[in-house]
């Protein structure tokens, strides 16, 4: 078990190095950071001085080595645009992104399961067909469009919900939360729906398919034959058995919810890490871009590692193959 975890951890480091190398080689196509730092009429000599002070005149290999040397010690440098340490910028923005991601996931799970169960049990009703149609929209419409549509409906036309930002936030230690104020909660609704809609459709379709599958199995038929109530059969037996794959998918998707929050955050001017990243790309702020990409790959790698380990815990067959020497 320990050997397995270690091996996976080493693989994870390899993955992160690869992400670092790929992103570093791409930064050269993002443009010249110096141009974004200084104004248009800055003299060439001044530009050269800026370039030198940032170490941008060194060969790429050296820049890469220096960056990873520092990153290994958790030093991510100072943002070109904000002149603040990248680590503190990310830490400041992380609560916003995590709160959004968690709310979106909860929204997707709750409504996805409810709608999935309903459309499996009452396949032919009008409501079930509407759910199916909605799920198609959720899968096919791009996130930014859904966000804009929601803004125009609920903010501009009806005036119920705010169109941008996090509302009032409360500081709890180093964490800032929008969950404790009314304006903060209101501000969470539209972005959470926008971000969670894709997951919702995914979960709903998964639950529906699994549910239909389970309802056909023998033990459900036996349960019916024993005269259990429909309610007990559907929710006590059928739903429980569909949840294992749902939880796996939702867990794995959590990483992409965080990573894809970029678009939702841009549309709603949500002050999270995704927005920071988009601003960094526009301004060729390499320290932020590099740190963000590394962090996202770390999240993905960690989630996958945990899932792998959990599988071996859950499934004894995997464990036995592991114990045998290769």
């Amino acid at each position: 078990m320990l050997a397995f975890t270690l091996r996976r951890a080493i693989q994870a480091i390899g993955v992160m190095l690869a992400v670092g190398i790929i992103s570093f080689s791409m930064f050269r196509f993002a443009g010249d950071p110096v141009n974004q730092i200084v104004s248009l009429d800055t003299s060439a000599a001044e530009r050269e001085a800026v370039r030198k002070s940032l170490g941008l005149d060194d060969p790429v290999v050296m820049q890469f080595a220096r960056y990873f040397g520092n990153a290994a010690q958790f030093k991510f440098g100072v943002s070109y645009q904000f002149r603040q340490p990248v680590s503190s910028l990310l830490a400041e923005r992380m609560p916003a992104t995590l709160e959004l991601a968690i709310c979106a996931t909860i929204f997707a799970m709750v409504f996805g399961i409810l709608m999935g169960v309903y459309s499996a049990l009452k396949r032919d009703t009008a409501l079930a067909k509407i759910f199916q149609a909605v799920s198609l929209i959720g899968i096919s419409l791009p996130t930014f469009l859904i966000g804009i549509l929601l803004i125009y409906l609920f903010s501009v036309t009806l005036g119920w919900l705010p169109s941008f930002g996090r509302g009032e936030v409360v500081r709890v230690g180093w964490w800032t939360t929008g969950l404790l104020t009314l304006s903060g909660l209101k501000a969470l609704i539209l972005p959470s729906i926008t971000l969670g809609l894709f997951q919702l459709t995914l979960i709903m379709r998964l639950v529906r398919a699994e549910m239909l599958e389970v309802l056909r199995t023998d033990y459900i038929r036996f349960a019916r034959a024993r005269g259990l109530t429909t309610r007990a059969i559907h929710f006590g037996h059928a739903l429980k058995n569909t949840l294992v794959p749902v939880i796996t998918v939702a867990g794995l998707q959590f990483g992409s919810v965080i990573a894809f929050a970029i678009i939702t955050e841009t549309v709603f001017q949500w002050p999270g890490m995704g927005l920071l990243f988009v601003q960094a790309v526009q301004n060729v702020d390499i320290p932020i871009m590099a740190a963000y990409l590394l962090m996202v790959s770390l999240i993905f790698v960690t989630i996958n590692l945990v899932v792998d380990i959990l599988y071996t815990v859950v499934d004894p067959r995997l464990r036995s193959t592991l114990r045998r020497p290769a």
Binding site: V34, S43, E46, Q84
Partner: protein
């Protein structure tokens, strides 16, 4: 103090607090596409940043609602000799932390603005001596006369020497700071507002300064600034009443904002001139099918390009009326004699004939560089130009890129890699000399900064001579004549193709009274908001 007493005291303080604030004091909510990145007034020489920091800091001079120079922190000034300027400072002005404003602060700010890492070094030339005469008088001693010495000083913000020294901020925060600096996260000026909190990229809150030396024309108690990068979100925020003012309004949304009963678009000419440049420096163009020679070296080809462009069509179709076609490389507000110039008429047949005379009866092929996220409808303008040039037989391959890549390619550090491009320019000094020197000056001397933004490599020695005379001519009328002479040379040479000044478009709630200045500075200290 007993509990009762302290409660009483607290209640009194609260009531006093209410009494001090005017009954109608309002909160202004303001959104801009761009961000306020650093609070250090010497980090970035850019107009949006200057506008933000102009709420907190002030210069020796100020500019009024029509951009005319008026006294600021200096009550008055005179030039006893052409090379010596004397500024009399306003008495009794205090910085927001309570420090008095004195001549020492001016001398300190002059040194700091010119120190290494400052982006506003051009505000005062390095050879100008700044001398304190007494606590309220400062002399600026020049090596040669400069009639526009103080033109840019409305945005040379005066900082508090004592405050800077106490907080280890005597050196300017360089644009490429590798360590965070105090002055980039805190501010202490003499201006109308103080910075209450600043979270870069998220939100900045300003509070009205009760001790401001001017009588406030605004009725605001607070400004909440949020950068909103996404166009659609910024428009939605205005329409839903969550912000009172935002800038810019995307051209396609102007109708929508205007047709909403609670909002309107304030339009006006801007100072930035959008123009096309043609590489005249290289012997062979980098991106063209003509080898061995450079067609743009032929004045007839440049004239043909100029005459092939239907500027009215660009104005009506691309800019939806929101542009002022320009005959000059400078906005008319900045040069009084610009009315003497007119654009050569749109004449595609004449252009075709000129091309034939130049030896290109079937036209030629050239690549055009264009930004797609820098100016209003920049890439669309380029597409229109491509179509217009196709009519005279010139095949243009358009390369439209985000500004990050675009500027890296075409500016000096990228080696001026462009054959044909679109660029916008606002003279930082609000004066023609900057245009003549930076964009039209010969760039053949590698040691001089002349012509650093002259991507086209246009060069005319006669023009350079006049430019140098413009710099030292003290008489305004004679100076304008010299400038006119220089612009006439540029027009005759078809050095550049000026297109237009784009229009400002601010989205404003109808509750808000706003002064719109042509330099696109959103200035809350002139805003009045109805409750």
């Amino acid at each position: 103090m007993s509990l009762r007493q302290s409660l009483l005291a607290a209640a009194t303080v609260t009531m006093l607090g209410f009494a001090v604030a005017p009954a109608s004091a309002q909160t202004l909510r303001y959104a801009n596409q761009g961000d306020l990145k650093s609070l250090d007034p010497y980090t970035l020489n850019e107009s949006t940043t200057h506008a933000h920091l102009g709420q907190v800091y002030e210069g020796l001079i100020a500019r009024d609602k029509d951009l005319k120079i008026i006294p600021g922190l200096a009550e008055r000034w005179e030039t006893p000799e052409p090379t010596r300027w004397r500024f009399h400072l306003r008495k009794g002005v205090k910085f927001q932390n309570g420090d008095p404003f004195t001549a020492d602060d001016v001398v300190f700010s002059a040194d700091r603005a010119r120190a290494k890492g400052s982006n506003v070094q051009a505000r005062i030339a390095a050879d100008v001596k700044v001398v304190k005469v007494d606590d309220n008088t400062v002399d600026f001693i020049l090596t040669s006369p400069n009639p526009i010495l103080h033109y840019q000083w409305d945005t040379w913000y005066i900082m508090d020497k004592k405050w800077a020294e106490a907080n280890n901020a005597t050196a300017p925060t360089p644009a490429a700071a590798t360590t965070p600096s105090f002055a980039s996260l805190n501010a202490n000026g003499t201006g109308a507002f103080t910075v209450e909190s600043h979270q870069p990229g998220v939100k900045t809150v300003f509070k009205a300064n009760p001790n401001w030396w001017r009588k406030p024309e605004h009725n605001l108690k607070e400004i909440v600034f949020t950068p909103i990068g996404s166009d659609a979100t910024r428009v939605a925020a205005l329409l839903s009443g969550e912000v009172d003012i935002m800038e810019p309004v995307p051209t396609q949304d102007i109708g929508r904002v205007d047709s909403t009963p609670t909002t309107q678009v304030m339009k006006g000419p801007e100072l930035r001139t959008i123009f096309l440049g043609m590489d005249q420096a290289r012997d062979e163009l980098l991106y063209s099918n003509i080898k061995g020679k450079n067609p743009f070296k032929d004045i007839k080809v440049r004239e043909a390009f100029f005459k092939a462009i239907d500027i009215e069509l660009i104005k009506t179709r691309v800019m939806r009326g929101l542009s002022t076609p320009s005959a000059l490389m400078i906005a008319p507000q900045l040069f009084p004699l610009s009315k003497d110039f007119t654009r050569p008429k749109f004449d595609p047949d004449g252009a075709k004939k000129l091309l034939t005379e130049a030896g290109y009866p079937d036209g030629f092929q050239v690549t055009m560089d264009c930004p797609n996220d820098r100016y209003v409808n920049d890439a669309t303008i380029c597409q229109a130009v491509v179509g217009m040039l196709a009519r005279i037989g010139v095949k243009v391959d358009l390369l439209a890129q985000p500004k990050a890549q675009y500027f890296a390619k075409i500016l000096k550090p990228g080696g001026y890699q462009s054959s044909f491009y679109l660029l916008g320019w606002t003279p930082g000094t609000s004066d023609s000399h900057n245009v003549l020197y930076d964009i039209m000056g010969c760039r053949d001397d590698p040691k001089s900064s002349r012509g650093e933004a002259n991507v086209a490599g246009y060069c005319n020695k006669k023009m350079d001579e006049i430019t140098d005379k413009v710099l030292v001519e003290p008489d305004p009328a004679k100076r304008d004549q010299l400038i006119k002479e220089a612009f006439e040379i540029a027009a005759k040479d078809y050095a550049y193709i000026p297109l237009h000044q784009q229009a400002l478009a601010w989205g404003v709630s109808k509750k808000l009274k706003v002064v719109q200045r042509a330099d696109n500075q959103v200035l809350p200290y002139w805003m009045v908001k109805e409750p």
